[in-house]
């Protein structure tokens, strides 16, 4: 029964994702942002990282740069790119048209997200290998935590993109509506600045930001410094954000332009 249900759903997702990938390939601006920014940005924070006292926190330049790069991949390959994609499809009435067909609402949103999420996943893998080899980040002590962090971050980014799209009217304004999460995450979620070097009280607030747990898991998987209790907290936070985002999308997502 489940195979019978899943086979057509898989076929539909594949068809939609393929079209979406073609569109991504034809949108040069989006492609450059998605592919280059996550690789280039970490180098811009490198000088600052070099000056930090990382040893005391058990960190190295490699692990800090790695989490920064994966975080930027979440933000630029997945989150901002998807906000634009969702808004563009809605404004061109593509989402409305898709809803007249056999695809379910969840399938439409996930099929559209699939290429961007795949780019983010591939990028994270390349970055992990690259940082391990080139920046002496070493090998992860608890790789499953890194994997968990990457996957939960990607899923949450897609859900948050759909949520941001609900309050975005045009593709142009997506560059503004996506900014708050980008800024807050860069500063507070341990991407540009490791949360470990923040004052304790501020750090504990920042731990509750949407992308903080994913970054924490990625970094913790590498350093092996997360206690079971901390892992549990990070997982609970990321699950809570995902559930909240999915609920909000189901409740408020707009399938057609405002008239």
């Amino acid at each position: 029964m489940s195979a019978l249900v899943l086979a057509p759903a898989g076929r539909r997702l594949k068809a939609l994702a393929r079209a979406e990938l073609t569109l991504l390939g034809r949108n040069r601006g989006a492609l450059v942002t998605a592919l280059l920014v996550p690789v280039a940005l970490p180098f811009s924070v490198r000088p600052a990282v070099d000056r930090m006292d990382l040893k005391a926190q058990g960190l190295s330049v490699g692990t800090v740069m790695l989490t920064a790069a994966i975080g930027f991949s979440f933000l630029f390959a997945v989150y901002t790119s998807l906000v634009s994609a969702y808004v563009a499809r809605r404004e061109e009435l593509v989402l409305k048209r898709l809803r007249t067909g056999e695809l379910g609402d969840f399938e439409i949103l996930s099929g559209t997200a699939l290429p961007a999420v795949s780019v983010g996943l591939a990028q994270s893998l390349v970055l992990c290998v690259g940082c391990a080899v080139l920046l002496d980040a070493g090998t992860p002590r608890a790789p499953y935590l890194t994997v968990l962090g990457v996957l939960s971050g990607l899923v949450l980014c897609a859900a948050l993109a759909a949520l941001t799209a609900t309050v975005t009217r045009t593709v142009e304004s997506a560059q503004i509506t996506a900014l708050p999460l980008v800024f807050v995450s860069m500063l507070g979620s341990g991407m540009a600045i490791p949360t470990e070097v923040l004052p304790d009280r501020l750090a504990s607030v920042c731990e509750l930001l949407p992308l903080s747990p994913a970054i924490r898991l990625v970094r913790g998987g590498w350093t092996g410094q997360l206690s079971g209790y901390e892992v549990l907290g990070a997982v609970a936070t990321t699950v809570a954000w995902t559930v909240l985002a999915v609920f909000a999308v189901r409740r408020w997502f707009r399938w057609e332009p405002r008239r």
Binding site: A15, G101, E102
Partner: protein, 312 residues
């Protein structure tokens, strides 16, 4: 459920739709469409055509009343209805950067039991444009692409929201022929249009919507039969309406005079025209600009809009 399904593929009962701002676009309409029938919803802009069709397509939940398509609620039971319906929205809905072939491939991948994409494109005459991006298509070509995708699933029920808007005369004829052929093969078609000749030519039955309500419904013949026919002419100088035979005797049910121009309305066109012409012959009066015409759908349509305005 099954026997019912064969009688009425689409059943609409006291349907209502209210938008966020409180605007009531559909105010309690009832109709049904049988298998293989072509049913047209006519109306001016803002009459509620698209608002109604979107409810039948299951894109929105009605504020009141009931919709059944193939025996199911198209909003609540999406999975049961969608594989058997084809939809053409009023406006596109395709990514402008994909080609025609890529768009068709994507849609076919999302459709169970889809016919080959090439076949669907051939049906609407778009084979030669398969490699062209959607943004480079003309308005008419986009309508035809939309129709091709609606036909991919070999639907039992087809919803066409203004299928020929933007098409040239030839394209319109081609679309009509295609729709007729589909209907002959058993497809049930619900279409909206503001081209009256389209409804007159194509529809087995129609309903004229006005301000969210059905003003009149029936076959095109029935709808026009309820309207009076018209005779208009100019009387030469020195002649007045009173010089004509008594209007009641001619079977005239209404008249207007505008200077020398006389307009008569009658439900007995032959009797009125004969009486008028016999009188003119005997009195040696030449009726300038004589125009005699039976009621058309256009007359019915404009008449309804006028009557409602007066009533309001």
């Amino acid at each position: 459920m099954d026997t019912n399904e064969h009688e009425h593929v689409i059943e609409v009962t006291d349907l209502r739709r209210v938008y966020g701002g409180g605007f009531e676009a559909v105010r309690g309409i009832t109709f049904s469409v049988g298998r293989g029938e072509i049913f047209a919803l006519l109306g001016t802009n803002g009459a509620g055509k698209t608002s109604t069709v979107e409810l039948l397509e299951g894109l929105a939940r009605p504020a009141g009343g009931r919709v059944r398509v193939l025996g199911h609620d198209p909003y609540e039971e999406r999975g049961a209805v969608r594989p058997r319906t084809g939809v053409m929205l009023q406006e596109g809905g395709f990514p402008s950067e994909l080609t025609v072939a890529e768009t068709a491939r994507m849609w076919a991948g999302c459709t169970s039991g889809a016919r080959p994409e090439e076949e669907a494109l051939a049906l609407v005459g778009l084979t030669g444009r398969a490699g062209v991006r959607v943004k480079q298509l003309s308005g008419g070509e986009r309508r035809r692409l939309d129709l091709a995708l609606a036909l991919l699933a070999r639907p039992e029920v087809l919803f066409l929201d203004e299928p020929t808007t933007g098409l040239d005369a030839e394209g319109r004829r081609d679309t009509w022929e295609l729709v007729r052929a589909l209907s002959d093969a058993g497809t049930t078609v619900l279409l909206t249009t503001h081209y009256l000749e389209e409804a007159e030519d194509l529809a087995d039955r129609l309903a004229i919507l006005h301000e969210g309500r059905i003003a009149v419904t029936g076959t095109p013949g029935e709808v026009t039969a309820r309207r009076p026919s018209r005779i208009s002419f100019r009387l030469p100088a020195g002649y007045f309406l009173g010089d004509l035979p008594p209007l009641a005797e001619l079977g005239v049910c209404g008249h207007e005079v505008d200077g020398s121009l006389v307009r008569l309305r009658t439900r007995e066109l032959q009797r009125a025209a004969t009486g008028l012409l016999v009188w003119a012959e005997r009195a040696r009066v030449e009726l300038h600009g004589l125009d005699v015409r039976s009621a058309s759908l256009e007359e019915a349509f404009l008449g309804i809009a006028r009557e409602r305005e007066v009533a309001a």
